[in-house]
Symmetry: C2
Subunit: 427 residues, 2 copies
């Protein structure tokens, strides 16, 4: 079926505005490892990825899924060892404060659980988030989407500026003073919730501030933010949906960010495409949540989620993907930093592991975001066979995020295409 | 692993209070067709079911899942024919007013979409639901859970008594007067929302009132409720998560209930265990929702959801399961009505197709609910190898809901076990 006909059918069946990537959308029919293939057989390198983290059509995952679905896939009100073993294995990937796990089907659902857990345990409802974040699509979680400074319309949510070095809240301030300035905003948000009688339940952050554009964060900010949150009686929620699962070269984004969360939310990469998400915390927090809510999630904690979740962890561990991410990611980032020197449109190169952001700026000013240029780069790279997207508070950050199995040769191929793209832009 | 050890591990890993069925929980390790098997190899007939509607380990579904996961499973911002075809096929199972579909991962997520769709389209936020219902576990959807008459704490939700003939709102009234009495409650709830300045966005019901205990509804109530809702400018949301997919012998619960919804929510049976749910409506409603929200759901609308969703529909159609449900369900219900005549503890036998409820009452009064007896029956049946559960506003309804592939021989086996259970109770 040709792409135009399919797009028209899609518009009728899914409604107008169902999101599509690229000026000329791709019709993808097959995936294998780091590659996706369109209907004409053309090969693309998946550098958007996010979900199928151990590679498209990963054989170990396919086999685990097939075997389990052919054996048993039922709701969780019978005892089954699979989901217990997955919960134990997940908890063991954190420090001792994380003991128990509530499974769900999406990052949205897992963040719903996290918010209700923090709110229930504190008896307060106020949540602080950052002002260019996204944590999910439900009514409660959606209140945290793209909250600008003047858009705090939800009585129980306050947005603070996300911490960053590139466009600092206090230009010219030392890193320590800058951290303090951001902390003061956090304290102010907490005070505002308390003054309004809402009270403070917790702070939620993506530890690498992925939707904000992967900013370099003033040293010490997150550790001190964690202290501030706890001193105020709140809980710190780490939304590891994008940051976790070795994306940065370590299991969790919070490890690189230098803090320890009370509640950890995971999602996207957990099932390599099977809907699977989790909220992990101390047993006391989980017990309290369960007692208050009698939470049950029909499709979650199933033998299928368990088998596929285990298979993804197996592949990450057996294939040493954390090390691969660290090695290839560092090499790719260093190469992109080199490109920045000769391309004025690249204002900054940021990120960790296999999640790198290129901040595109106008030639005239290093601080003036250029989202048109970011979109142009993304579309050019697509035409050259490399699938990326754009993100960030100004949508001007080219987001480079290949699967964890992305190798050095893949990185070299990408750099060749990237150089051609940059040459065209510069030309 | 023995059941006690596994239960203790589970309590640590998933937290205390993760729901389990039965006084002595079952450790289930395998499923096949209508059967589940515990770790000792003992066979049980799954008469709770709900999700794996075409049978456990259904081969056609397993093959579709395996093949698709080995081919492509990626997010929906590329064009892919699979999900378009599934949306078209689902829409075609409704009347012409249902044109477009938004996929998600759970009934909760699909009901979130439905509520936001109705609220966005009307510009009002007030929702009317019934007072012993359950539509999901998120903050917004959870506001509708078990709302008693005095528990209308959510400003934008009003609960009305669910319509029923067994414990009628007006004892002794004619069926027509009774329908009118329930309608007056609906009108009152709408007025209350308008008087409070909240406004009326819509009514949400399970068309067979499954959580309420499958009541027989006064004739004409639902059709007139639909008129009332539309006259007041609201939308009628049918939550077909339990009622749909031929559970009643027809594709949708609303067909038997005699009304046409504006928004249809489906979930549980759609993927035979794969997380898959949908919100379907007119293209205008779906377009409006998408324009207002830019809704995106990472795991939803995937090629995997599409392939598995199609496989389930294939099996239902190819194997003539609607006809099977009608035939076996009618025979089973008739047999249970026979048992009611000699067992005073059975106050009522209700339901349609393969979803039957036995209302357990105290011997002294046909109207006094006996939840202890319902739980006893459920546990007794379990010990005899038949898995049911209890439901209803008083938790006194034994819920009998085998897979759509449940045959007459399975029904006969069940009746033998049921007779033994009743004999023990009567004895």
């Amino acid at each position: 079926m040709d792409t135009t006909t399919l797009a028209a059918r899609r518009e009728r069946a899914l409604g107008a505005g169902a999101p599509l990537f690229y000026d000329r959308p791709l019709h993808i029919v097959r995936g294998e490892g780091v590659h996706l293939f369109d209907e004409s057989g053309r090969r693309y390198v998946d550098m958007y990825n996010n979900v199928p983290c151990v590679g498209h059509a990963n054989r170990h995952v396919v086999e685990a899924m097939s075997r389990q679905q052919a054996t048993l896939n039922v709701h969780s009100r019978y005892l089954h060892e699979g989901i217990v073993a997955l919960a134990e294995r997940l908890a063991a990937l954190h420090g001792p404060a994380i003991e128990s796990v509530i499974f769900s089907c999406s990052g949205t659902e897992a963040n719903e659980v996290a918010l209700r857990m923090a709110r229930g345990a504190t008896g307060k409802s106020g949540i602080v988030c950052t002002n260019a974040t996204y944590h999910g699509n439900s009514e409660a979680v959606g209140k945290m989407t793209r909250l600008g400074a003047d858009q705090n319309s939800a009585a129980d949510v306050r947005a603070i500026p996300f911490p960053e070095m590139f466009r600092p809240l206090v230009p010219g301030a030392s890193e320590s003073d800058l951290a303090e300035a951001y902390l003061e905003r956090l304290r102010g948000a907490i005070r505002s919730l308390e003054d309004d009688g809402v009270g403070f339940a917790g702070l939620i952050v993506c530890p690498i501030f992925a939707n904000e554009g992967l900013p370099d964060v003033p040293h010490g900010f997150m550790a001190r933010a964690a202290e501030t949150v706890r001193a105020a009686g709140g809980f710190l929620i780490a939304d590891e949906v994008q940051a976790g699962y070795c994306r940065t070269g370590r299991w969790w984004g919070y490890e690189g960010a230098g803090f320890t969360p009370d509640i950890v939310v995971t999602g996207k990469p957990m099932g390599n495409g099977l809907p699977l998400a989790a909220t992990a915390a101390s047993k006391a927090l989980v017990d309290g949540f369960r007692a208050r809510t009698r939470y049950f999630n029909t499709f979650a904690s199933s033998p299928l989620q368990a088998a596929v979740g285990m298979a993804v962890l197996d592949v990450i561990e057996r294939e040493g993907l954390a090390e691969n991410v660290t090695r290839v990611g560092a090499s790719l980032k260093a190469a992109l930093i080199q490109r920045k020197k000769t391309c004025a449109a690249i204002g900054d190169v940021r990120g960790l592991g296999l999640f790198i952001g290129l901040e595109m700026v106008r030639g005239g000013s290093a601080l003036e975001p250029d989202s048109d240029r970011a979109i142009e780069v993304v579309n050019e790279l697509k035409d050259r066979g490399f699938l990326t997207s754009n993100a960030g508070a100004f949508r001007n950050v080219v987001k480079i995020r290949p699967p964890l199995v992305f190798g050095q040769r893949d990185a070299d191929e990408f750099l060749t295409a990237f150089d051609a793209t940059i040459a065209e832009i510069n030309g």
